[in-house]
């Protein structure tokens, strides 16, 4: 009997002290995962990378401020009336009053979302590197995209907030970041691009092009198997990294390395219509008005809210909250170089045909750029969904312009003009339309053509402002509310770091 007691106690002890890690590991929440679990299955890993693209399509970044709204306000696309308080936000942005409440909040949100996304990327890289559930080849592709995206977002932080010392975040742990001077900052960007290039050397886009277009049905695609290989133009693919490199080089250390950028740009342009993934958009059919030039998109993101947001921005009736372009600005400034008369929509340039009169006022226009998917559907029968939601971020036209800029720098104005005319032919211009341009080959002429080209091509894509800023043209810029150029009341450069960074 006496021994029994001891046995009973001994029986209790292992129960209490048993190793129960398995039991604990089973108790995980269902609607979320702890880090370890997130990187222990391929489907969760790709969901995490997809989540990073989803973050990029948020309104605070490329699904709004960085493309269609805030940055294009800075580029003076949008009409405002200085005397009406409803336009306060538009006025403040157009005049670069960065210290005013609305711009301050918008810029702080861009800053925050960008660094949150970068932090997510860093954690993804860390988690993926330590995970062994994914084949090495796929892993390289996913890692390559991540490094590329990190450089991509950091570069845009520089293009918006630079030139000044900025934090470059490569850490997956929460650590305070020191700001880096511009050259160190770019050294980091170039390093990430180099890493991405190496990892993406075997990108399926190089050998197989863009799988999943025209003929491929997308409904029954097993996502896990093809996540790394399908729809590469919706992901930061190898060519996108190259294009990003060109974009980074032309911005590098303020003055930029134009020649090196143009070299890359030229090599990318050469891909067009040579059996590779990219080809010129088809201007042959008048029913096909593909304003985003889908086949020229090197990199875009899938924005599930693109259509509804675009409606929100352009379909309203209220002044000050609807993003409209003023008739004078559109006809006389942006399309001012065009030798055509009459109504905008009658011009041969397909980009002019996207403009329709807004519901706000008869002299204000809105674009149908992101609303054309139903017409496109007859051309790309299986592609309705992707095109409807594609937010283009790098396109061939930008490479073309980088190349032309280098020709200008070298004083080869005639060649620059010729290349521009060549480009315009892919935007619906006929030989007779470009003929008058050929003769005027001065720096100023070419520049002003390039300037309007940016405006025409990159409406709602954010690139125009960055071009003007890089070439120091913000002091005299198209009048959003009239013909000609204006000097914004204030041009504090650079944009001060937001309060959530400095005075958090």
């Amino acid at each position: 009997m006496k021994h029994n007691k001891i046995y009973i106690l001994l029986l209790l002890l292992p129960f209490a002290f048993a190793s129960c890690d398995d039991w604990f590991a089973g108790a995980l929440p269902k609607d979320k995962n702890l880090e370890d679990k997130q990187f222990s299955s391929e489907s969760d890993i790709i969901a995490t990378l997809n989540g990073i693209y989803r973050s990029m399509s948020s309104e605070n970044l490329y699904g709004g401020y960085m493309t269609m709204t805030a940055v294009d306000l800075l580029a003076h696309y949008y009409y405002y009336d200085s005397s009406q308080s409803a336009f306060t936000y538009f006025i403040n942005m157009s005049n670069y009053y960065y210290a005013a409440d609305d711009p301050k909040a918008v810029l702080a949100n861009i800053w925050k979302e960008a660094y949150v996304t970068i932090f997510d990327i860093n954690n993804f890289i860390h988690g993926l590197q330590n995970s062994d559930v994914i084949p090495e080849q796929k892993k390289k592709i996913l890692l390559g995209e991540s490094y590329g995206l990190r450089a991509f977002i950091h570069l845009d932080i520089y293009r918006l907030f630079g030139p000044q010392a900025l934090p470059y975040n490569t850490d997956y742990e929460v650590v305070p970041h020191n700001t880096l001077p511009v050259d160190d900052y770019f050294r980091n960007i170039m390093a990430d691009i180099d890493t991405a290039k190496i990892l993406l050397a075997a990108d399926p886009i190089i050998t197989e092009g863009i799988i999943g277009t025209d003929t491929e049905g997308i409904n029954d695609v097993p996502v896990v198997d093809v996540f790394h290989s399908y729809f590469r133009n919706f992901r930061l693919n190898y060519y996108a990294v190259r294009a990003l490199e060109a974009r980074a080089l032309i911005n590098r250390n303020q003055s930029g390395d134009h020649a090196a950028a143009a070299e890359i740009a030229k090599s990318l342009i050469a891909l067009l219509d040579t059996g590779t993934p990219f080809h010129w958009t088809d201007t042959g059919s008048q029913y096909l008005n593909d304003y985003i030039a889908y086949s020229e998109v090197i990199f875009g993101i899938y924005n599930i809210d693109l259509h509804t947001r675009w409606k929100n921005y352009t379909d309203g009736t209220r002044a000050g909250s609807t993003y409209t372009v003023y008739e004078d600005n559109l006809q006389n400034n942006i399309f001012g170089n065009d030798p055509h008369g009459g109504a905008i929509s009658q011009w041969p340039d397909i980009r002019s045909q996207q403009w329709v009169i807004s519901k706000v006022r008869g002299d204000q226009y809105v674009s149908t750029k992101f609303l054309e998917y139903d017409r496109l559907s007859s051309y790309y029968p299986n592609m309705i969904d992707p095109i409807q939601n594609l937010q283009p971020l790098i396109r061939m036209s930008e490479m073309y312009y980088i190349y032309i800029e280098e020709l200008m720098d070298e004083g080869r104005y005639d060649e620059a003009t010729a290349e521009l005319c060549n480009f315009l032919h892919h935007r619906g211009w006929k030989e007779q339309d470009t003929q008058p341009l050929i003769n005027s080959a001065s720096y100023q002429q070419v520049y002003s053509m390039l300037e309007t080209e940016y405006y025409k091509e990159f409406y709602a894509e954010g690139q125009t402002f960055f071009f003007l800023k890089r070439t120091n043209r913000l002091g005299s810029i198209f009048n959003a509310a009239g013909t000609g150029k204006v000097s914004p009341a204030s041009t504090p450069s650079p944009i001060p770091l937001p309060e959530n960074e400095v005075n958090f």
Partner: protein
């Protein structure tokens, strides 16, 4: 230790009843009733300390074999010749002899427990039982009688009046709302509220709420709040680490242990308890203007000076006042509330099987109209006392609640309605707007709160909990007891909020967005299984007890919500009547599983119950401790000295108890979160790449848990035959490090990040004194006074500059965390309850401006938030109750007055309704003092600033003028009961017991600060009538 003895379970007594029954039966069989010509003595035998009736006491005539025994009510009847002595015997009690005189027809006999049994009185620590004499932890045990003597309606409210360490933090917003759950602290705070590290889904960060244990298993605050007080056998508060270390990671804020009544063998009983109460709203705290005063204030305030149309409006309003319109809005949303509760139990059984079944129902009406909380429950408890020391107990109970609040909204809407407007149009309809007019830039609109109140908006919440607890006890030998328990619990809750489409908040939106229906549904399922071995051994005078326990627990929670909008007029809020889901809205879903594994060792050694030693060790493992470290250990050690048991004190008959004790130990303060690991959450919606997941919380793998170190000492004294009892405790709690969610630079990629930083130090003391002036148990007369008091004070430090961003947050416009007027600042060495403000010297009589004192003591008219200093502290210097207990035969009386001294409070009524009335807010009614006490012209010695409000720029920031001393004396509870049990007439009603009582709550209030209490729901005064009957 009268009070304590009542409440503690007399385990040995029930255990030893068995042989007594046998003897009794034998005696009864052998000796039938004796001849007549003798007198019949009836009587009742009670426990000398607790006053409880004793069952099965053998009563025999000295020198004779004639005997009987007491019945289930402790009553006996025996025929004797006058002059003989009766002997009373019960195992565990000292034998007693009583001489019977000629006049002794009805006698009361009190028996006292013998030493051996006293040593076995236990402290119910919830998951284990401790020997009371040998235990060193700080606790207080409260029996059902003591609990009910204070009040009969709510357990928590009664507890507050009994133990000074148990504090219900007054909720000035929710007032007496029956659906609001109280916020409770035991011995102050152990964590800084700012540091709340919130779980992604549950928002249950570290808190200062104690742990609740019901019949050995964890329970929610809501379950305890709704518990029928008649089901309670005892409550034990565990306060220091010595008593809470066994609860490991959950014990830092103290533990409230509730035990429910156990059935007793014997006759079948039916009891009924009914409670009927009337509550009236407490509106005296409001000091609002009447119509004439309000209009005069508006005139002086400059409301009618801006334009010509203003003048017109003034005369229109004046005409209304002249015509006698003076609406007293406050009385409109309130009512006299009638509440009732009923509970009935049936219990009985034999030696082998005992049962108890009960049902209860409570309808608690709020003083706001159309507001109630109904709770109901039923339970069935079965005890099987088998052979060879095997006892099985099963208890199944179902409880439910049904909370409702109608469309009356917040009381404050009515408080602020202007008295010169009528509620009704002349034709009796209710206008939607009281007033609406446009000025140059803005439109002012005053909504009629009665309009919204008459709509069909509602909030309904329902919950059901089913619990089944099973205990198996096996007394292996005299020294070893084994117990296994299993608890299964399933609960469901549903909350529906409907806002009527006509509600004024939807004035400016389209029909497809008017009205909203929100439904939340949650289910919880948990199990808990544990085994305990209790081994004790006495070697000479050395007593050892060793308790080893293992526990396994799992809790599953799931919740879903969805919302719909766009309801047609007149809709009662069926979701199918809606236009659509919220635009862009998505249903939410969350689910969690928490698993918990605990082992516990409790060791006690004492020498002759003189020198006591306790050691507890708890190894806690849980999923929410993070991925790398599932286990955390906690321990405590304690020592005690029962001075009265020393040889030298043997002859000190005046001393019943003198115990000195001290404990030191650790506890955790944490509930579910995953802050040590990063968490990924799936995005809503898919694209053709499938689903997306996002890093939603960056974890800190190096995070250490908040461990509270607790040092506590105390003394328990009982003298003069227990008529004077004093308990005193002093303690210090140190939480080091705290977990602080620290704000980060945006470029780090996170908003905030949990880190270990700083410490918090809480010191305090509490005491209870009971003194009986008159105590004649023979005549059942007692007059006593009790006084309790408590004080605690926390300071924090070790943050250095880390929290400066909070102090300077007012400088950044986007930060909503802290405004310019925040009374909290974080500087090392200060208290979390410190009130910070800029010192004010009052109003300059010359110009009506406020004069401030800068940090350096210079006078200035300019307010600078950097000049904030500690003005006062919102913790009282001392808070407690003073009460009177009196008993005169059948009548018992208890009154409890709460006092609080030395606390300071920010007076928001002064700030918002006397000053700081912006030009836009003049449309609302204000405090009378805004009219009478504000500066009007040079020379006015006024307490408050210039009455002119037309200039919005003159808004006042918070200064020391708005912080006032908050001393009060409150009539917290009062209760009078009359026990009819000894009256003959109740027998004719087939009653065994009958008592009736009346009690009052919050029946008076003396305070030094004129402040509005009960913003959304006013406080209430309650009178209740109570009836108890046993058949």
């Amino acid at each position: 230790m009268l009070k304590i003895a009542i409440s503690e379970r007399m385990t040995p007594r029930t255990k030893r009843r068995k042989p007594v029954f046998n003897i009794m039966l034998a005696l009864l069989l052998m000796f039938p009733a004796l001849a007549a010509a003798q007198q019949t003595v009836t009587g009742v035998v009670k426990d000398a300390e607790s006053g409880e009736e004793l069952v099965g006491v053998v009563v025999n005539i000295k020198g004779s074999t004639t005997a009987t025994s007491t019945d289930a009510d402790g009553k006996f009847s025996i025929s004797v010749k006058p002059g003989v002595a009766l002997q009373f015997r019960l195992l565990g009690y000292n034998d007693l002899e009583r001489k019977i005189g000629a006049n002794d027809k009805n006698i009361t006999v009190k028996m006292s427990m013998n030493e051996q049994v006293l040593n076995e009185v236990v402290v119910e620590a919830g998951i284990i039982q401790r020997n009371k004499l040998g235990f060193t932890g700080s606790h207080s045990s409260i029996g059902k009688e003591e609990l009910k003597a204070v009040g009969n309606t709510n357990v928590l409210q009664s507890l507050k009046s009994i133990d000074p360490a148990f504090v219900i933090v007054e909720n000035n917003i929710a007032g007496s709302d029956p659906n609001a759950m109280p916020n409770i602290e035991i011995r102050g705070q152990s964590t800084l509220n700012l540091s709340e590290v919130q779980d992604e889904s549950e928002a249950t960060g570290a808190s200062n709420m104690p742990l609740f244990i019901l019949d050995g298993f964890e329970a929610t605050l809501e379950e305890i709040n709704d518990l029928d007080i008649n089901r309670i056998e005892s409550i034990t508060l565990l306060k220091d680490a010595g008593s809470t270390a066994i609860y490991g990671s959950k014990g830092a804020n103290g533990v409230v242990v509730v035990e429910t009544v156990r059935p007793q063998p014997g006759q079948v009983f039916v009891t009924y308890n009914g409670d009927y109460s009337v509550s009236t709203p407490y509106l005296d705290v409001y000091n609002m203007m009447n119509a004439a005063e309000k209009l005069e204030f508006e005139r002086l305030g400059g409301r009618y000076t801006q334009a010509l149309s203003d003048q017109k409006r003034y005369y229109e309003n004046l005409a209304k006042v002249k015509s006698g319109v003076d609406t007293y809005w406050l009385k409109e949303p309130v009512q006299v509330a009638f509440s009732q509760s009923h509970s009935a139990t049936l219990s009985g059984g034999d030696k082998v099987l005992q049962y108890q079944a009960g049902v209860n129902y409570k309808d608690n009406e709020g003083v706001m109209k159309d507001e109630y909380r109904k709770t109901y429950g039923g339970n069935l408890k079965l005890i099987y006392r088998g052979v060879e020391g095997l006892n099985i107990m099963n208890n199944i109970f179902v409880t439910g609640s049904n909370g409702h609040s109608g469309s009356w909204g917040s009381f404050s809407d009515f408080v602020q309605a202007n008295p010169y407007y009528s509620m009704y149009n002349e034709d009796g309809t209710i206008p939607k707007y009281l007033d609406s007019y446009s000025e140059v830039t803005t439109t002012h609109t005053a909504v009629n709160p009665l309009y919204n109140a008459k709509l069909l908006s509602r909030t309904d919440s329902k919950s059901t909990v089913i619990t089944n607890n099973t205990n198996i006890d096996w007394t292996v030998s005299r020294d070893l007891l084994l117990r296994g328990s299993l608890s299964l619990k399933q609960s469901k809750g549903n909350t529906i909020v409907f806002v009527d489409p006509r509600d004024s908040r939807y004035d400016n939106v389209g029909y497809e967005q008017k009205g909203r229906y929100t439904s939340g549904y949650s289910t919880n399922w948990s199990y808990n299984a544990n085994m305990t071995a209790n081994y004790r051994k006495a070697v000479a005078k050395n007593n050892f007890t060793l308790i080893v326990r293992g526990e396994i627990e799992e809790k599953n929670n799931t919740s879903e919500t969805f919302a719909a909008q766009g309801f047609p007029e007149g809709s009662v809020g069926y979701p199918s009547q809606s236009y659509s889901y919220l635009s862009g809205g998505r249903p939410s879903y969350s689910s969690s599983v928490v698993r918990h594994l605990t082992s516990l060792t409790a060791f006690n050694y004492n020498y002759a119950y003189r020198y006591l030693l306790d050691f507890n060790y708890n190894l806690d493992g849980a999923t929410n401790f993070g991925t790398n470290r599932h286990f955390q250990s906690f321990w405590s050690a304690g020592a005690g000295w029962n001075v009265n048991r020393e040889e030298f004190a043997k002859d000190w008959t005046w001393l019943s108890e003198l115990k000195l004790r001290a404990t030191y130990g650790t506890n955790g303060n944490m509930t579910g979160n995953y802050t040590t690991s990063s968490v990924y959450t799936y995005n809503v919606g898919n694209n053709f790449f499938g689903q997306a997941a996002k890093l939603s919380q960056a974890g800190n793998p190096n995070l250490k848990w908040q461990v509270v170190e607790n040092l506590s000492g105390g003394v328990d004294i009982s003298v003069l035959s227990n008529n004077l009892r004093v308990n005193f405790d002093i303690y210090r709690k140190v939480t080091d490090p705290l977990i602080v969610s620290l704000k980060q630079r945006a470029s780090s990629g996170v908003d905030s990040y949990p880190v270990n930083l700083g410490y918090m130090n809480t010191k305090g003391y509490e005491f209870r004194i009971n003194y009986n002036f008159i105590n004649k148990p023979k005549d059942n007369i007692l007059v006593g006074i009790r006084l309790t008091g408590a004080h605690n004070f926390s300071t924090y430090g070790g943050f250095n500059d880390a929290l400066n961003y909070l102090n300077e947050a007012y400088k950044s416009e986007n930060n909503s965390n802290m405004s310019l007027n925040s009374l909290q600042q974080f500087h090392d060495g200060n208290s979390p309850t410190d009130l910070w403000a800029v010192r004010s010297l009052g109003i300059d009589p010359a110009n009506g401006k406020e004069i401030f004192l800068t940090k350096n003591g210079e006078r200035t008219y300019i307010f600078n938030a950097d000049d904030k200093v500690v003005i006062a502290n919102s913790r009282p210097d001392i808070e407690g109750v003073v009460g009177i207990n009196a008993r005169y035969r059948q009548i018992q009386f208890t009154s409890t007055l709460r006092y609080s001294l030395g606390a300071y409070k920010y007076n928001s009524a002064l700030f918002n309704k006397v000053e700081n009335i912006s030009y836009d807010n003049v449309i609302y009614n204000q405090d009378k003092r805004a009219l009478y006490d504000r500066w009007q012209q040079p020379g006015d010695m006024a307490k408050f600033k210039n009455i002119n409000v037309s200039d919005n720029a003159s808004l006042t920031p918070v200064s020391s003028r708005f912080i006032q001393r908050d001393n009060y004396l409150r009539g917290e509870a009062f209760r009078l009961t009359w026990n009819f049990s000894s009256d003959k007439w109740i027998k004719s009603l087939h009653l065994k017991d009958l008592s009736a009582g009346v009690s009052m709550n919050d029946f008076f209030n003396l305070y030094s600060i004129k402040i509005e209490r009960g913003i959304d729901d006013p406080f209430a005064r309650t009178v209740s009538f109570n009836l108890y009957a046993r058949f």
